[in-house]
């Protein structure tokens, strides 16, 4: 143990010098969150395409087969095909409908999460900025009614 005297003022100045380089600032929100906000998943073109095209045909119309013998044969074959595969086609249509709804829900959830992440980052940054200011800033004179001219004069 050192027996030499310790000057508290010099010691404090050294402490302040050491810590001056350690002053930190809060992290700003990540740039990606801004992109997420500007380009929401619910605005994707593919999602719109899915909405417009998920319903496949489930019957044969006369306009598609045309007239004449060939048309009637094609219509008969089509009806036979749809009758034989109708259950499968109906289930496939339901499956596509659910997939589209699921994609829709996932896109919405993505956008909600992006908003939540962005909001949280902003709130965290604000909170850390407040904490940093509280930790590092000197209180303004008289803020607690304990400083001011007398205190300055005394020291």
């Amino acid at each position: 143990m050192s027996q030499e005297g310790l000057d508290p003022r010099e010691f404090l100045e050294r402490l302040q010098g050491e810590h001056r380089t350690l002053r930190w600032a809060p992290l700003p929100p990540a740039p990606a969150t801004q992109r997420w906000r500007e380009h929401p998943m619910t605005g994707e073109e593919s999602l719109h395409y899915l909405h417009d095209h998920w319903a496949l045909p489930d019957h044969v119309s006369g306009t598609e087969t045309g007239g004449g013998v060939r048309g009637r044969i094609a219509g008969l074959a089509g009806r036979l095909t749809y009758r034989a595969l109708g259950r499968y086609l109906h289930e496939e249509r339901e499956l596509l409908a659910h997939m589209v709804r699921m994609n829709d829900a996932l896109a919405r959830r993505c956008d909600e999460l992006a908003r939540a992440v962005a909001d949280r980052q902003v709130a965290d940054a604000e909170n850390q900025a407040f904490l940093a200011a509280w930790l590092q800033a000197e209180p303004p004179p008289g803020s607690r009614g304990e400083s001011g001219p007398v205190a300055e004069a005394v020291h």
Partner: protein
């Protein structure tokens, strides 16, 4: 005392045929309690008992009463008595609040200007100040004092009482100037002006009064620094020194005296800056036992857990807490001379205190600790003080300073008596 008013009483001889015992009247708004101002007033009054009877006139009390101050009277053995006259008069709260607001407002712009207070403002400040003291006119006149001591620079009403009843009696002024800049307002200049002597406790108070108060600035020979008597009773100090490691939750077995004791000066759950600072420090050092002493609870933070218990009763318990700790962090030290910090230094424990407080004098001039201006600095200071070498050196320096300055009641009494002697010599 070789000269002065206490040696030249003009009253008739005493009942035992000997010379009459001089009479000192002390006008003090507050006499009881743990507040530093009241404690210092009691010490000054009791130091005057050596050479005369002391009559304390105070506003406090539930009903008007006269009683003997046994604690002070028992300290002397020549028959001198300390009598307390309680007027039981409370100033109107509305007027007190208005005066405080006015003083705070004026202090921000007028305290250093030296400009006289305007008559309308002066009238507002005086309103209701004299009435409570008027009840003491007859009793003070009947006492025929040889000396009047006025405690507290805001007691303009008590000053009026002196001027009205015994204006020819020497007046000694104990301003009890805390760090509020109001003491520099010209409104209080007449007291400094008329007082034969002004007594202050510490170097900080001396510098504040000398710099801010016009009459003292012009004639600094009228102000006298008398210091403080021993702040710790010898028995309590011996107790602390006998059990330096038996410190309970502040030090104790777990960290071998490396604990931190923090005083917030307010309730444990208050939304107060001091409470926030204490929690910040407790969270910053989870491996250090941090004991936060509030007015209503004692919280011990250690290993991420907090344990709450009642505040230990008695001065010795608090002294033992400080005596066994690595450092005392006083987040709201006393406004007059930071007595708790002095006690800590007397126990050999260094202090960490706000930079804008009276306690800084003990840390800086006494080299007994560190001071901080921001929460970040508080954390650095605590971290630095946890180094054994740093705290041992500062603790030893602080103890030497406190022992030299604040450990002798006879020396304090001698200084007070010397000032009274000079008053008589003028």
């Amino acid at each position: 005392m070789s000269a002065g008013p206490l040696a030249t009483s003009t009253r008739a001889a005493g009942s035992d045929g000997g010379p009459a015992r001089p009479v000192v009247v002390v006008l003090a708004a507050r006499w009881s309690g743990d507040a530093e101002a009241a404690w210092f007033t009691r010490q000054v009054a009791r130091s005057l008992l050596r050479r005369g009877d002391v009559h304390v006139v105070t506003l406090e009390g539930a009903k008007p009463a006269v009683s003997v101050d046994h604690e002070g009277t028992s300290a002397v053995d020549d028959g001198a008595r300390c009598t307390v006259h309680r007027l039981a008069v409370a100033p109107a709260p509305r007027l007190v609040a208005r005066r405080e607001v006015l003083l705070a407002a004026l202090s921000t712009v007028e305290a250093r200007s030296g400009r006289p207070t305007g008559p309308s403002v002066d009238r507002l400040l005086r309103e209701g100040a004299s009435e409570p003291w008027a009840a003491a006119d007859e009793s003070v006149l009947g006492l025929r004092p040889d000396l009047v001591v006025l405690a507290g620079y805001r007691q303009v009403g008590a000053f009026d009482l002196w001027g009205r009843v015994v204006p020819d009696t020497p007046l000694v002024f104990v301003p009890l100037a805390d760090f509020h800049p109001a003491v520099g307002l010209a409104h209080f200049d007449p007291i400094f002006d008329r007082a034969s002597a002004t007594l202050v406790a510490t170097g900080s108070e001396y510098r504040a009064v000398t710099e801010l108060c016009g009459p003292i600035r012009r004639d600094p020979g009228r102000i006298h620094r008398v210091g403080l008597p021993a702040t710790i009773e010898p028995a309590a100090r011996a107790d602390v020194e006998r059990h330096p490691s038996d410190a309970g939750p502040g030090g104790g077995e777990a960290d071998s005296g490396s604990g931190v004791v923090m005083f917030t000066g307010c309730g444990a759950d208050d939304h107060d800056r001091a409470v926030a600072l204490a929690r910040l420090a407790a969270l910053a050092f989870p491996r250090v036992r941090v004991t936060v002493v509030s007015t209503d609870a004692l919280d011990v933070w250690f290993g991420g857990e907090r344990t709450r218990s009642p505040v230990p009763e008695g001065a010795s318990a608090v002294l033992r807490l400080m005596g066994g700790a690595a450092m005392t962090v006083d987040l709201r030290p006393g406004a007059l001379f930071a007595r708790r910090c002095i006690d800590s230094l007397l126990c050999g424990t260094p202090v960490v205190v706000p930079a804008d407080s009276r306690a800084r004098q003990h840390a800086e001039s006494g080299a007994g600790g560190l001071w901080f201006s921001s929460p970040g600095e508080l954390i650095w200071c605590v971290e630095a003080m946890l180094e054994p070498d740093v705290r041992r050196r500062l603790g030893a320096q602080g103890k030497r300073y406190a022992d030299a300055e604040f450990a002798s009641t006879p020396a304090f009494v001698d200084r007070v008596e010397a000032v009274i002697g000079r008053v008589g010599a003028r």
